[in-house]
């Protein structure tokens, strides 16, 4: 087994809002190894992005707080780091790519200015050196004639090219760990294919680890080694991509896979998951999925199921699996 780079243990993130308390991430544990791509899948509001931000310690406090849990990155507890130590980690060791490059990049600075900012602060490069490095980075992510595009502003790039700029910025300080939060969601399918290809090749080339956050099951099926499925703040299933796609054990995972229309066959009706995602301000008792589940038992309404190992490396949190 390759070396473990990141370990989350019982991570819980809570927000204190005027209307009450909202637990966005509840007891999430998983590990990511060196060179591995870990996919975090779930529908909107399931807690995927909050998990990612917690790893980067980007949860604003207040209103956010992390009452429980540990985040261990390269053997160090991230929560115990000082702000200065954290700044040395962000960008340098862990970098992040966001969904919407237009709002993540600064519209009033040129691409060169934004990327060299990170280079000069983190690596202490001179203005000239930084400029040279930016050209290399832009070429690396496949921006044609980078010498000419260097002094352009973000709005002068297309969506796909902006996402390349984001990736160049994330890669600028040679991180060992990349978190990509829905990096292709805003893109057209042909552009998505090139960006996915680019991310995968960068990961391979630099031996980085990646957490890939998405709601698109097609994307994780091809770009991830292991997958965690999130529903309403919990990880409900965790396993290799073959465990998840070929042998889903949690009714939510199975339901999700059944509800997507397929390209190769046509059926008259799809099999949706009934009901709607629970209101996170007033979550149901017990298993959060029980109001939508076809196999609900009494115990599901009382107790939150814990994630248990059902086969080597394949975990699921469902009361059905305890009973044989």
């Amino acid at each position: 087994m390759a070396q473990q780079v990141l370990a989350l243990d019982d991570l819980t993130v809570r927000f204190r809002l005027r209307r009450g308390e909202l637990t966005a991430v509840d007891g999430v544990s998983f590990t990511v190894h060196r060179g591995e791509t870990f996919g975090l899948v779930g529908e909107s509001g399931s807690g995927k992005s909050v998990t990612a931000r917690a790893i980067m310690r980007l949860i604003p406090d207040p209103p956010g707080e992390i009452p429980r849990g540990r985040i261990v990155f390269e053997g160090r507890d991230v929560m115990g780091l000082s702000d200065a130590e954290m700044r040395a980690l962000r960008g340098r060791r862990i970098a992040m790519v966001f969904q919407e490059p237009m709002s993540a990049l600064n519209p009033v600075f040129t691409v060169c200015a934004q990327i060299s900012d990170a280079l000069r602060t983190n690596l202490g490069l001179s203005k000239k050196e930084a400029r040279q490095r930016v050209i290399e980075l832009l070429a690396l992510v496949g921006i044609p004639s980078p010498q000419k595009r260097l002094d352009s502003y973000v709005h002068e790039f297309s969506g796909g090219m902006r996402q390349r700029v984001m990736l160049a910025m994330a890669l600028s300080c040679d991180p060992v760990f990349l978190i990509a939060d829905e990096p292709t969601t805003a893109l057209d399918v042909t552009i998505q294919a090139t960006i996915l290809d680019l991310i995968t090749s960068m990961i391979d080339r630099f031996g980085m680890s990646l957490i890939f956050i998405t709601h698109n099951l097609g994307v994780v099926a091809h770009s991830c080694d292991r997958i965690g499925v999130m529903y309403a703040s919990h990880i409900v299933e965790l396993g290799t991509k073959h465990d998840i796609f070929r042998n889903p054990q949690h009714p939510y995972t199975a339901g999700l896979l059944n509800s997507i229309p397929r390209l190769d066959t046509q059926s008259k009706y799809l099999t949706p998951i009934p009901g709607t995602v629970c209101n996170m301000m007033e979550p149901p008792t017990g298993c959060k999925f029980h109001p939508r589940c076809a196999h609900t038992m009494d115990v599901c309404k009382r107790e939150i199921p814990v994630l248990r190992e059902i086969a080597p490396g394949h975990h699921a949190a469902c009361h059905l699996l305890g009973r044989v």
Binding site: S158, M161, P261, Q266
Partner: protein, 328 residues
Amino acid sequence: MTATDALLEVKGLTKHFALHADIYSRVAGEKVQYLKAVDGIDFHIRRGETLGLVGESGCGKSTTARLVTRLIDPTSGEVRLRGEDLLAFSPARMKEARKEVQLVFQDPYSSLNPRKTVMHILSRPMEVHGLARTWTEKRGRVLELLRRVGLGVEHIDRYPHEFSGGQRQRIAIARALSVDPVLVIGDEPVSALDVSIQAQILNLFRDLQEALGLTYLFIAHDLSVVRHISDRVAVMYIGKIVETGPAALLFAEPLHPYTQALLAAVPEADPDKPPPKLILKGEVSTPIDPPPGCRLCGRCPRQTTICSEISPPLIDVGGGRQVACHNL
């Protein structure tokens, strides 16, 4: 295809938007540029059929929807509803026709008025078209509509913010149905929804079609959604239709290089399927004053000299399929 068995027929439909240059270049007498959003498209939809219109952002899908509903007027071309030219209608006749063609939009958070109750949202179109007069009559019809889209009497006096995304889209669909349309145009009606909810709404579209004999023009960028819902599919690329045909055939054996590239780029939710790959070079080019030839010029692996000179017409290739490519 004769006009009689098509519910909707579109011929040579074109919409060019003039891009107004800044005052200096206008004084200098520079030519006005045109964004050719829709550039001479032909298609028809038979009664009871679903035509899927698919393409990437900026290809003119939504402009087509707006032209067909006459929310905007075309630069040239014809839109025929049951053989009658929509563009020649008097305002009074157009109002009648608006009842027959209804739209469902992508984002149910911005398409419903947050200050009105469901009762108001669903009964207002009936009032406008004089379909229901008394309060009891309206309420009866609204309840019937809610039942049809899977909502209940308890929802009638609520406001849009009290509903989830999927439920709001149900309300938007009910509103489209409130005036008994024959043709419903969905402009990315499931794109904003989570997959588990998306499946519910797609099933609802299917149920309503069966129950009410509706005809759909279903616009989406998600190929698997279009494959699922459509009888026939039209693929658009920068203002032109490049390929049309029965959904099963078109997806099993795409003929146009763009359709092939589009399908190859879709990541399927199956780790054993081939990974997505990109066949075309570069990115979608601009619809602003495009060059005369095929729009795929410069990206296409099959390109020959004729491609940059003459725009290929849509040609019948048998099996109800049409393709616009010089090098089939």
